[in-house]
Symmetry: C2
Subunit: 209 residues, 2 copies
C-alpha cells in the first residue's frame, strides 16, 4: 500500500491556510461514569449545530465556524452533558489561523451565532481546570500570554500558575466567557494560535494521598 | 486582597527558563467508570517516582525530569490504570524549554531512568487518539511537524490527519515509543515545544449517529 505522506511545504507562519475567519474546536467529553456513552451521545445530539460545521468520530468531536458560534456550541456540549454528581472532564483544543488549514469544512452563519444560548444560560456549576495558550510563529509570545492571564486574575477565574499551564476555577459560564475573551483578544494580534484547556466538574473532595 | 499578576517580561523565545534539560508532562487520566477514583489513585500510587519530580492535585498530575524518565513514568500511569473493558482517556501535555520555566521542581537522575519498564513492558493494548505538536518561537514550524508526522506514517501509528491534530492508532507501547521519538527529535532543533496528545482505550464499537 502506498503511504500518504504529508507535506506542509507551502505553509508559512503568519499566512493562515484559510482565507476565512474560521475558528475551530476539537474536544472530548469524559464523564467518569458507567453510563458515559449515553451521557456523551445525548449531549452531543442536543447541541444545535446549525451555526457550525461539526463532525464526531471515535476520537473526538470537531466544530468549525465563527468564533462565537464555536464557543456557543462547545459550551452547550459540556453543559448539556452535565449531571449532578457525575465527575466529568472536558478537554478542548481551540485553534485559529493554522497555515495547514483549508477553506473547507465550515459554516459561517452571520445571524444569531449563539443559537444554543437559550438552552444553556440557566445551567451553571463550579469547575476547576487549566489552560495553556500557544501563539505560533511569534517571538514575543510570552508577553501575549501574560496579558490574558492577568485579565483572568482580574476576573477571578485564574487561580494560579502551574507547570505547563495556568489554573482555572469558578463558575462554568464565567470560565467560558473568559476562554472566549482569550481567543478573541489573541486573535486580534496573532495569526495562528492554539488554546488548550481542561475543565473538571463534580471533582471528588478530600486530600490526595 | 492584592492580586498577584504574572510578568514574563524577561522571557524570550529561544531562551529556556531552566538551564537544565528538564522535560515535563502534565496529564489527566479519565476512566469512564463509577469506580474512577480508585482506578486513578491506585495507578498513580503504583508508579515508581524515584526518577522524576511529581505532584498530583485535583486538576492534574505533573512529572518533571529527564525525557526518558518522564515518558517512562507517564506510560506507567496509563498502563497501570488499564482495566479490561474500561474505557479510559489519557490527556497529556509534554513540554520542554519554556522561557517561563525555572530550575526548580525536578529530579535529574542519570541511572536507570526507565525504572517502571519492568512493571509495564508486558502490558499492551490497542488505543486510538490524536496529537498536535507546537514548536514555539519558530517560523518554520510546519516543516518540523511534517517530518515527525511522516515518521509516524512509516511506523504505522499515524492513521490520518484531522482538523487540529494528527490521528493516532496502534498498540499503546508503540504509541509511547513514537511520542517519545517526536519529543526527542523536535527537542534536538527546537528550543521550546509542546506535544499535546490524547489516547483512548476500550473504545465502544459501532457507528456514531
Amino acid at each position: 500500500m502506498e503511504k500518504k505522506y504529508v507535506d506542509y511545504g507551502s505553509c508559512a507562519a503568519g499566512k493562515p491556510g484559510t482565507t476565512k475567519e474560521i475558528t475551530g474546536a476539537r474536544f472530548n467529553l469524559s464523564p467518569m461514569s458507567d453510563d458515559f456513552e449515553r451521557i456523551i451521545l445525548n449531549a452531543i445530539k442536543q447541541v444545535d449545530l446549525s451555526k457550525v460545521w461539526a463532525e464526531t468520530d471515535h476520537i473526538s468531536t470537531v466544530y468549525r465556524g465563527r468564533e462565537e458560534a464555536v464557543f456557543d456550541a462547545l459550551k452547550a456540549a459540556y453543559l448539556l452533558a452535565y449531571e449532578k454528581g457525575t465527575h466529568m472532564t472536558l478537554e478542548a483544543t481551540i485553534s485559529k489561523g493554522c497555515p495547514g488549514d483549508r477553506d473547507s469544512d465550515y459554516t459561517l452563519e452571520f445571524e444569531n451565532p449563539r443559537i444554543n444560548q437559550k438552552d444553556t444560560q440557566a445551567i451553571d456549576f463550579p469547575v476547576i481546570g487549566k489552560y495553556a495558550l500557544y501563539p505560533m510563529g511569534s517571538d514575543n509570545y510570552m508577553a501575549t500570554i501574560a496579558e490574558v492571564v492577568n485579565e483572568g486574575i482580574d476576573r477571578g477565574v485564574v487561580t494560579g500558575s502551574g507547570h505547563y499551564g495556568t489554573n482555572l476555577g469558578g463558575n462554568v459560564q464565567d470560565l467560558f466567557d473568559y476562554l472566549e475573551y482569550v481567543s478573541h483578544t489573541v486573535g486580534k494580534t496573532v495569526s495562528h494560535y492554539i488554546i488548550q484547556f481542561t475543565l473538571h466538574c463534580n471533582v471528588p473532595e478530600g486530600e490526595i494521598k
